[in-house]
Every structure is written in C-alpha cells, then in structure tokens.
Symmetry: D2
Subunit: 296 residues, 4 copies
C-alpha cells in the first residue's frame, strides 16, 4: 500500500520504519525536517514538505503527534493531510487524544469519503521499536478489517473496541489503571525503604499473589534503584490524565484517586522531573535529603 506517516517522534519514527520494512511505500512528514531526513536515510522511502503533500495519493495516512491541537493542525490545517486525501482512503490517528477529537475527525473525513480510525497505542518506545505495540482501535468494522493487516507491521495486539472514539476511551481506561496502581506501588516501596527491608526479597514474596502487576514485575526494581530515564514520561502522563479527567467530567464519572495522583505528577513537574518515567512518583515519598538532579 501507499502510506503516509505524519509525526516522527519517539513513537512515530520506528513505527513508520516498520511500515516501510513491511513492504509498504511510505512517505513521511515531520515538522522539523531533520528527523524526516534521518528517517529516509535509515529506512528508504520518501519525505514530503507538508502533511498534505505526504498524504497525496496515499491509501492510508497515519498520524502520531502530541495532542488534540497538534492533530487538528496536521489533519485539518491549511496544509493538513485531509485536504489531499481521496475518497476510499483511510486516516488512522495513533496520537493519544480525546474521543471528542476522534469524532470530529471522523465526521470531517466522512465528508470527503475518507475512512477514519482512532488507534492510540501502548507499549512505549520499546514496543514501537520492537514492533510489538498494543493498538486500541475505534471505528467502523469494515474500515478496521481493511487496515488491520497494515497495522500489524508494528502492532502485536490489535483490538477493535467499538465505534469511533472507543480506541481513545480504552486508552484512557488504561491510563486510569496505571496512575493509581503506580502510586500504590510507590507508596509500598517507599514504605519498604523506611522499614529497612530488603526490597528484592519482599518483592519475591509478594509478586506471585494478589498484589502482582506488570509494573511490579518490570519497574519495582528500577524504582528501588532510583532509575527513571526510560519508560513513559510524567509530562505525557499529565496530558493523558487531563484528557481522562475532562472526559470523566462529561461522562459523569468520578476519579478521585486518579485526580489526586495527577496532582502528585504536578509536584514532579514543578521540581523539574517532567521527563522522568512515571514511576518517579516514589521520589515524592522519599523526602528531601536525597538531592534530586533533574534528568533534563
């Protein structure tokens, strides 16, 4: 297929690479052109100076930029991709964004005969690089079936949840689980430290039971080692939680622990730790004697 990929950040760069490697003809666009050039040098394919030019003639256009605002710019802006897309092609948004945006894009796409899928991902940089992302998709069944094989280039677990917007809603569910769970783990491990226990033995004892989680299996060790220069950044999490909390507001749902953990992330940002992994929540609980040099 002819594909366009817009947004070559930490996630988009390797995703677009997998697409090209899988045999598709990929044209990329990135706001700062240097990344696009580096991508072509590494993977082949073409680059284009605007989203619209990248999308010209494409069967499928992927976007993976920062937030709602950014997606609007690269899709609906004066040089946006949608302008150039032809009837029968499909727009897939991999950005973590709002369900309202998904519905807005679906409507705009439909007006041009273009299909739309909201398809946020999880699995992080590692998942993107390894081509093993989880992809949560909202949109029409037929569109999904047509595009699923293309997404398989970088997706390991691809699930259609339901109509447009439900991909984004599912990603929010994921982030809500993650926020409270990570804070709970941080409280538990800071307690371990205050109690003077050997963290690795404690974890060995409890990690087979009801307190087990992916975060405990994969991050408790690095938390105890005070290592946070990897994973999913606090700044991204705050953006995501902002979407969750706004959405809960309109759905009439209440998220008390999510809301308070969001404020704890604000503490981390305020102290210069916005680029650290979300597990740096443990730092807030350790007290101030240990100096906290910022990552960035």
């Amino acid at each position: 297929m002819r594909a366009a990929f817009i947004g070559l950040g930490v996630m988009g760069f390797p995703m677009a690479g997998h697409l090209q490697s899988a045999g598709h003809q990929v044209t990329v666009y990135n706001r700062s052109a240097a990344k696009a050039d580096a991508w072509v040098e590494r993977y082949g394919g073409c680059t284009a100076p605007t989203p619209a030019e990248a999308a010209q003639g494409a069967d499928v256009v992927m976007t993976c930029v920062g937030n709602d605002h950014d997606v609007r710019e690269v899709v609906l802006g004066v040089h946006g991709a949608l302008l150039a897309m032809s009837a029968g092609s499909v727009l897939v948004d991999h950005t973590t964004a709002s369900a309202a945006l998904a519905r807005e894009l679906a409507a705009a796409s439909a007006a041009s005969g273009v299909g739309f899928l909201d398809a946020p991902v999880s699995g992080g940089q590692q998942g993107a690089e390894g081509g093993r992302l989880s992809i949560m998709v909202g949109g029409e069944e037929a569109t999904y079936e047509r595009i699923k094989p293309v997404l398989a280039a970088y997706g390991k677990a691809i699930t259609r949840i339901g109509p447009v917007g439900s991909g984004q809603l599912t990603k929010m569910v994921n982030q809500i689980c993650l926020a409270g769970l990570t804070q709970a783990l941080a409280e538990a491990l800071a307690f371990v430290e205050h109690a003077g226990l050997d963290g690795s033995i404690v974890l060995q004892a409890i990690s087979q039971g009801a307190a087990q989680s992916w975060m405990m299996d994969h991050r408790a060790g690095t938390m105890l080692d005070d290592k946070f220069d990897f994973g999913f950044a606090v700044n991204w999490m705050r953006k995501d939680l902002s979407i969750c909390l706004d959405t809960a507001r309109s759905l009439g749902a209440s998220l008390p622990v999510t809301a308070v953990v969001d404020q704890f992330f604000a503490d981390l940002q305020r102290d210069g730790g916005g680029r650290r992994d979300i597990t740096s929540l443990i730092r807030r609980l350790r007290g101030s004697d240990v100096a906290t040099p910022a990552v960035d």
Copy 2:
C-alpha cells in the same frame, strides 16, 4: 511433629486440616467449640478446651486469629499457649497483625526458651483450602529452617524476609499495593460503564500491557458483574490498613492514596458492605441506584 493450631476460622480451619493430613499430630483450639468439634470430625486429631492445653507438649504452635488483641489473648492470656510451651518448641503466628506485636511475642517466647516466627499469609480462603498460601516469615534463620517443612503443608511460596516483624511488614507492603491498585481498577471500570464500552473487549485490549495486574486478570470480570460474595472482605482490609497506617506513622512514611482509599472502605462499611470483597469499591463509583431527587 506434635502441633497445636489455635483459631479455626475461614483460614485456620483448612490450614490445620492440611497439617493433620500431612501426617502431623494436631490438637486444635477454637474459642467457639463447635468449630473445633467439626474440625475433629472432618480431619481426626484432638481438641482442647484452652490454648494452653492445646499447646501442652507441642513441638510447634500455630495461631491464626483476628488481630493483635486476639493474639495476645490466646498466647499471653491466663490460659494462653505460651504458658504451656516448653523450651525448644516454636510459636508461629499466622494472624495479620502488627510488627510491634511480633516483637513483643518474640521477646516473651525467648524468655521461655521458645522460638517465634511471625508468618502472615496471603492467598485467601481459596489458598488456604487448596494448601497454596503465600507465607511471609520473620524470625531467626535457624528457627525458620526447622519449621519451613511443616508450613509446606499449606504453603506454596514460603519466604523468610528477615528478622522478627519483617513477615508482618511484608504483608503490609502487599496490602498497600492492593488498596491503591484496587481503587484504580474500580475507577477505570466505572469509567468503562459510564462510557458505555464493552468491558470484556476493553480488558482484552489492555490486559497484556503496563496496566495489567492480578486483580485485573482475576477480578475485573466479577466487578463488572457486580459480584462480591467471595475474596477478601472490606472489614479485614480496614483492619490491615489500620496497621499499615499506624506503622507508617512510626516509620515516618507517608501513604496518601492508601489513606484515602481506607476512607473509601469506611464508606462501604457504613453502608453495610463490610463483608463484601474489597473490589466492591466500584460500588461507590456507580451512584445510588435509587435516584437522589434533585432539589429543583
């Protein structure tokens, strides 16, 4: 070995049974005698009218009662087990209790030449019945090595954490993880319901990633089905969190999310749900089925 088992509740009854089945000579004591009689009828063994008489001549004495107060009564009380225990025997407390109590019992035991292990368990009623409990042990290495084969009658994963009290501290770490994680899952699933998503598809999409947890794997479905007549009761959790919060106070640790979730459990108790599983936290987030009529 000659063993005594004190406290034949939901947990102790099957634990003592496994002990007898494993070939030990078990004498049981239970405050309300009917349970002790039922136990003998089912498993054989003997019953005694007081903890002291049960402990007479035993190589090892297990206790599994409710809380610190109860343990003091059955161990240190006027008919308490310790009175009757002889030098060289070992006292094992399976109750979830404070580390301070563990240290108090260890000292009292030592004064009589008796060994002591604090050995709280996790795995619930199912784990006790199946003989597959996790046991977190604090106490001297030599004592532990001697008793470990006996505990294997009902323990699948038995870990010595460190000195006396560290078994209890580890159980607290487990409960701290569990409290925040369960509330996070409850918020996520109530959000699913408010958003009108299909919960089972959402779970399928996210349960392989970073939001995964034992609770998600084993309880999300029952939460969505509004089923809470099993598992670990809110009343027990509140007792355990009370120990966690008191201990954090003396250690100088801070547990903000644990503390607020503890209050949410208070809401559940107040509304008559103290015996339901802790996953009933989702009920608080669903709203009152009986509509509260608006003022206007």
Copy 3:
C-alpha cells in the same frame, strides 16, 4: 452613562437592575428574550435583540454569562458586542472564566480601542440582589478608576488586583479556599452526627476559635438541617474548579485536595444533585438512607 448588560441570569438580572436604579441608561440583552422583557417591565430601560445592538453607543458593556465559550459568543461572535463598541468605551466581563480568556478579550478589545476589565464577582444571588457583591478586577488602572463608580451600583467591596486576568485568578484563589474548607466542614459535621453530639452546642464551642470560617458561621446550621436549596450550586463550582485545575496545570501549581474535592462534587452531580448548594458535600458522608443490604 449609557450601559449595556448582557446576560440576565440569577446574577445579571439584579445587577443590571441596580445599574438602572443608580441612574444609568441600561440596554439589556438576554438569549431567551422573556427574561429581558421581564427585566424591562421591572426596571425600565431598553432591550435589544443581539449583543451587538445592545452595545451600540454604550460607554460601558457588562457581560455575565456562563463560561468561556459563552463569553466568546456574546463578545466575539457574529452578533457579538465588540463589533458595535466604539473606541474609548469599556468592556467589563463579570463571568467567572479563565484568565486566558481575559487576556484574549483584552487583546481583541485593544484592537478596537476598547478598554477591558475582567471582573468576576462573589457573594451569590443574595449579594447580587442586595447590591453587595465583592468584585475582583483585573485590568489597567486608568480604566479601572473610570469604571469603578459604575460598578459601585452593585458592588460593596471592589478591588483592583493587578493587570488583565488577575481578577479571574483571584476568583480562583477564592474557590480553591472554598472547596477544601467546605469538605472539611462537611467531614466535621458528619462526624458530629455519627458521634451523636448536639451540633449547635459543638458549633457554639468551636466557632470562636481557629476552626472558624464564614461557612461555619453561615452554613453549618443548614448543613445539619439537610437544607441545600440556596447558595452556590455544585454545577457552577465544578465549572469553576475546572478552570482552577487547568490554570494550575499551566502555572505548575499543585492542588491535591482541590482535585479530590472536585471529584466528590462529581459524585453529587452523578446522583442528581448538581443544583444543590456546595455544602451538600455532607450528603456523601452520611451514607445511603436506603440501607445497602450486606452480602451475607
């Protein structure tokens, strides 16, 4: 002066009335015309079919509508007031809105030679009717001095805080104080009820000391009486807290208790209580009158 007043809600209706009564020539606009007609019938003055027509020839234009979106519509929309305002006139926004909106409106006004003040109020319906509102003003000193005498028609305490936006920021400070303080009072009074104390004696004993607050003096009694059909509605508070939390996000401030109380207000909305006074927070702490039957 010739004045226009746009938005005759619970607050705007009496405010515009005081303006007219103070001798100004007021033209009003309200989206649903019936209220505008009722206003003219009661106070005299004129009505106009659009914000622009109301603003035509006015020396000062006041707006008091719902939120950022609404203000944009009545000021910057196709029939918006700003279109019709002439150089030298002043726009005063009494809506509780964002500081960002204030800056946006100030810039748009300046482009037409129009002055701008953000001037949110507090004091509620009673304060508006009695002409005793507190008004927190952001904007240029000279503009403020010129308009202050006009605002005195319905303002008792009128304070210029600083540059454009600082009126709105001050209102947010007010709401942040109020959210946590009201929840604290609710927790205290629900505790009084659970303890079976006589609330009026308790309040008499503590209301002269460090726990005193305006809310305790004026609302504790009505809270104990379960009366919430007056005051400041939960729905409005949630809008205001949404602005506070968004602003804190961009300022790098953290508001943990405000965030969690905002979610408690969400509980009240979900249960149909959005129009009750914010002191109805106590209802969440009282438990469901309809007993939730225990599982066993």
Copy 4:
C-alpha cells in the same frame, strides 16, 4: 480551692499560673522537676515529687500532659493522682486525648467517688498565657457547674457539650475542620505565588466573603512570609488526627480529606518540620528549589 496541676508544658505552665493567681492554692507536679521549680519561683504555690503527692488533699486535680498513654501514667500509674484523691474531689483532664480514655478515667474515678471532666482546650500557647482558652467539657452537669468557676481562671469560652467524652469529641471536630481548611488555604496561597499575584491585595479582596476563615485572617500573611515558628505544631496535629481517624473508624464515619492531609503532615515530619506550625503545609506546595532548613 486546693488544686493540683499535673504537667507544666507549654500549655500547663501558664494555666497553672492563672489558677494560682486567681487565689487557689496550687500544688504542681512535672515529670522533669526543673519546670516545677521554675513555676514555683514565678507564681508561688508548692511542688510535689509525684502526681499522687500533688493530688493529696486537693479539691480538684488538673492534668495537661501529652497523650492517652501519658494521662494513664499520671492518673492511673503506681504514683498516679487518682490513688490519692478523696471522694468528692474532681479530676479534670485538659490533655487532647481520646473519648475512650475519658470514659475509662470517668469509670475509674467514679469507683473512688471522684468526679471527672474531660476538658481539652483550644487557643494555643497565646490563649494559655493570656488566660483566654476555649474549653470543651464533657461530664456530668453538676460536676461541671461546680468546677466551671475554677476553669474561668484560664478559660474565656467554657462550654459543656454533654456526657463524658464529648469534650474530646468536640476537640476532634475542631481539628477535622482545621486540617482540610489549612490545606485548602495553603493550596490557594501557593497558587497565588505561582500566579505571581500580590498576596496581600488578593487577601484583601476575598477575606470578607465566603472563603473567609480565622486561619485566613490570622495566618495567610505569615504563610506568605514563610514564618512557622509559632502556633500549633505539626507533631501535635498528627497526634490529634490520629485520634480523630481512630475514632471515626469506630463511629463508622469517613474522613477522606482529613486522612490525606494527615499524610501531608507526615511529609513535613519526614523532612524535619514536625515542630513548625501546621500552616507549613504550604511548603510542600512550593517545590524543592527553596531550601527548607528545619526549625529544630
């Protein structure tokens, strides 16, 4: 009257002084004798080497020590006051302690024909020194009426709430109000700082309205000035909140914001600020660039 006063701390020292100055014959006891000697030097009266000897022959005995444990020691211990008190005399406990302790002391007193009042105070060091404390009293009406004139030596507002224990419960109500209210004020003022507003103008604008509180009137200025070497210490507040939370547990009340603020106080203690005033909550919200040298 012949009075004994036990516990000459920050509060007890001046309280006992007012008692002596009011014409009563006061014998004091303090654990560390130096304070007792200093007291006699300043006010006259006598000192005794044990609580029992101080209480010998007294018509009324006051205690003002640290916590439940301390009160038990000075009242019920081997040299405790109750031993020496004669039928018809009255024991008044001014310590902030549990209602359960009050009931326990009342029962023990009754067994010796001694009357009992639980009478915790508020007003702080200033109030004690100025003789202007608020006193919240639980106990029998007749006992209260007899003792009230004596308490007037240091009490400005003296209120009998109800039966034994209700003095302590009322003090808890006071502290619950205070915890959430102080955190709310701290969030608001840290927001002021982040927004770059002039705090004194903001306070002038909002302090007449619904956000007003004693804390705003008397402490907002010192909070903005980063001054915390006075007032009511974090360590005392944590003790008091521990009593509140335990009591809520047994009453079936839920205190979510109180519980989370209690953990924020734990943060302050952990960072060495236990002796600062409770308004130092604002420090947690300011970020870590500003070094925080501990008071003690």
